[in-house]
Point group: C2
Chain length 153, copies 2
Amino acid sequence: MTETVELDPILTTDFIKEMAKQMRAIDSYGTYDGWTDDKVLAPFIMTKEQRRQIPVIGDPDEETLSRVKCFYNAIAVMIEKECGHMAVPLVNITHEGFGRALITVGKLVVMDRTVRDVHRFSFDSLSKMKDEADKLLSVAVEIIGKYSEVAGL
Amino acid sequence: MTETVELDPILTTDFIKEMAKQMRAIDSYGTYDGWTDDKVLAPFIMTKEQRRQIPVIGDPDEETLSRVKCFYNAIAVMIEKECGHMAVPLVNITHEGFGRALITVGKLVVMDRTVRDVHRFSFDSLSKMKDEADKLLSVAVEIIGKYSEVAGL
């Protein structure tokens, strides 16, 4: 019996492709070579049930932190593609998993979020992850349009 | 013999007083109680000779990192006093001592510096330290004046 594996259309979107690229970029030992994007991005996805099983208080490990950075890096790349200016992400998280994620374009702060409970950082599905990114992207692009002079500094 | 200790006028400036305040704020064990501001701020000062004796490559320890944060926190407080809006510092340094120091006011980046060689972070004198801060402050205040709408967001 031959099975045709259909590729989830979400995996062909720019953002999800960029996410996979960001994850592969930090994969120094080539662990992900030969893996599908789906598999590379699997650690981002958790059901509500799985998330509930993680203790409320916990310190994020290095891998979780790097996933958070991947997420905001990918958003910065999207912003850059959209507006043509360099977008610089800055993620600052304490060892307790609280912090701030920021993206600047020129002298303009186009995204500024307080992050918390980083040790539980995950999404219900890839499509939910993309929705979240799209929201941040559209707010960023709007503010860049409004204050283009500051963004161009 | 009674000695009259003359207070260096630099110690009465707003910035240097704020620096001492920032240092005392992180002194959880009360080590600095009873110390003069001068003594509290002593680790910030190094002669060229002393600095030269520190290896070129080195990882900054926690205390050095906290001094860097104190410096930018104090500048943020000065900016806040000057412009009336909240100024938020964000210092992100890798364990290797490279990174970025940023101060935002509203959605405006009023200071953005690449920091390096953090393990050698120090100044020739308190007055040199204040000069450096004054420079950053005046640039910040100028840009806030120019883009006050963005700073007020």
